[in-house]
């Protein structure tokens, strides 16, 4: 490893690339090259340059488009881009800068000037990065300091969660009060909706806590697993839509009526789908088209498989390790950290399992497998055809 700054040189003119490569090597920089826009985007990912020298007129994807795309991604938008172009007209410059280029140099350029600008922008990038790291670290510390309060982590994170709910409730009650004073029915409806919604959140929390603390035997009854999954999708539809997340249902048509624990399955799926939606909300890659897929599969060996997958933020190694630990949450005081622990508990009480597959930045898939009891052979483990 070296700590040389890395320059990505992008130009369809081989001579220009060669010349610049030679010059910058002589100055002690590391360089890499690309000859069209497509290669450039690929190189940015592979080479991770500190700065990009970008020609505008190129085959396939032109420099404007490259710049626009790089500046729209969270993990590439801090890389400075200097556009190099023979287009000397002011509107061209403005277009370049509008699309995110940080600087613009007209060809033929003075090499010393270019070198000065490169030096300047590399320094800026280093500073911006340090600042970002610092801010991220601070955010972590702030959340931590909340948690490490003397009352202990559990109570502190619960308290944070409840504080938000309480504020919503107080607001709702206030609106209802005012509505009565002013005889305003619209306001009454708004206030009441808020009270209801926040009561729902409290029940959710209490259910999570109870589930967490008690042994619960599955309550077997006749049900349609696909209908349970469908209901969960309906319940979560609205919040998904608010964040432009699409929920896709992919149900096995051969799945019929079964004797299972519908309430338990409902809780499990609701937990998984809510988490999947959160994972999309917390994803910083705004370019993605977020999708949560809920899949049911009747397996040959008499098991039902529920799969909930998302293409959201994924998990780092630490999160993967702590996933099923009680009160572990990365949701900044908005989560209870009980959902997965409970989901696992319910699945296991059903003689089932839960597994995870996740890749940071790509998404996650949670799979629950439970024994399927056909209505006809209720009580038996196998099913008859």
């Amino acid at each position: 490893m070296t700590n040389k700054a890395k320059i990505l040189i992008v130009d369809d003119n081989v001579d220009t690339v060669e010349l610049l490569t030679k010059r910058f090597h002589a100055e002690g920089y590391d360089t890499s090259e690309a000859y069209d826009g497509e290669q450039a985007l690929q190189q940015v990912v592979e080479y991770q340059p500190d700065i990009i020298l970008l020609d505008i007129m190129m085959p396939k994807i032109d420099g404007y488009e490259v710049s626009k795309r790089l500046k729209s991604y969270d993990n590439t938008k801090h890389i400075p881009i200097i556009m190099l172009s023979a287009k000397a007209r002011v509107p061209d410059k403005i277009k370049g800068l509008d699309l995110g280029a940080d600087d613009y140099i007209v060809k033929p350029f003075d090499y010393r000037e270019l070198s000065q600008r490169v030096k300047y922008w590399v320094t800026v990038k280093v500073e911006v990065e340090e600042r970002l790291t610092k801010i991220r670290q601070l955010e972590k510390e702030l959340i931590q300091s909340e948690r490490l309060a003397a009352v202990g982590q559990t109570v502190a994170s619960l308290a944070h969660y409840v504080k938000n709910i309480l504020f919503g409730l107080k607001g709702g009650v206030y609106l209802v009060d005012e509505a009565f004073k002013e005889n305003d029915t619209d306001s009454l409806k708004d206030g009441w909706d808020l009270v209801e919604s926040n009561m729902g959140r409290i029940s959710g929390l209490v259910l999570d806590l109870l589930e967490y603390s008690r042994e619960r035997k599955p309550e077997y009854e006749k049900c349609f697993p696909n209908e349970i999954a469908d209901d969960v999708c309906k319940l979560t539809q609205e919040s998904a839509k608010e964040y432009s997340i699409e929920i896709i249902k992919d149900f096995d048509p051969s799945m019929g009526e079964a004797v299972m624990d519908p309430k338990g399955i409902h809780r499990c799926l609701l937990n998984l789908v809510s988490n999947a939606i959160d994972a999309c909300i917390y994803d910083s890659n705004e370019e993605k088209k977020w999708v949560v897929r809920v899949k049911t599969i009747l397996e040959d060996d008499g098991m039902v498989r529920f799969e909930v997958s998302d293409n959201g933020c994924g998990m780092d190694e630490e999160t993967k390790k702590k996933l099923f630990t009680g009160f572990f949450t990365t949701k900044e005081g908005r989560g209870t950290g009980l959902g997965l622990l409970n989901t696992q508990k319910i699945a296991q009480e059903h003689g089932g399992t839960i597994t995870v597959n996740s890749q940071l930045g790509q998404g996650s898939t949670f799979t629950i497998r439970m024994p399927y009891r056909d209505v006809a052979t209720s009580g038996a483990t196998g099913k008859e055809d």
């Binding site: 801010i135 601070l138 702030l142 504020f167 206030y174 005012e178 909706d193 919040s239 900044e332 908005r334």
Partner: protein, 129 residues
């Protein structure tokens, strides 16, 4: 009509605060994180910003710092509305200040959830008149 922007990731909180803003005779604008918040601020400068701290995408810590270090935006008053105690917030801003080498002023007001709604209304009226 004066405009007030509420930035909070929690739908219910956005709803409550929007209603309180409208009841006080102002126009409400909403954003669900710092990125969206900064976008709204640039596009249609509000007269007051009510800002939550812990949000996905961009947090309020960062948005506050961005607001207060940008010449054209730094005079917009900000009420921080958060479940995080004020002390923790001020400490984080101080560290950021030291790092950035410039000092950012304290917010106009700091409300720790769950404060009474009347308090927020009174504050808005005091700041906006």
């Amino acid at each position: 009509m004066k405009k007030v922007l509420i930035v909070d990731d929690d739908v219910d909180i956005r709803k409550v605060v929007s209603k309180l803003i409208e009841k006080s005779g102002y126009q409400a604008m909403e954003a669900k994180n710092g990125v969206e918040g900064m976008g709204k601020v640039r596009e249609d400068k509000p007269d007051l910003i009510i800002l939550d701290m812990l949000m996905p995408k961009e947090s309020g810590i960062r948005m506050y710092h961005e607001l207060k270090t940008e010449e054209s935006l730094k005079d917009i008053p900000v009420i921080v509305l958060s479940a995080i105690p004020k002390k923790s917030f001020l400490r984080s801003q101080k560290v950021l200040d030291e790092f950035a080498g410039q000092s950012v002023p304290e917010p106009e007001a700091y409300i720790e959830k769950p404060e009474e709604p009347e308090e927020l209304i009174a504050l808005m009226k005091k700041i906006l008149g």
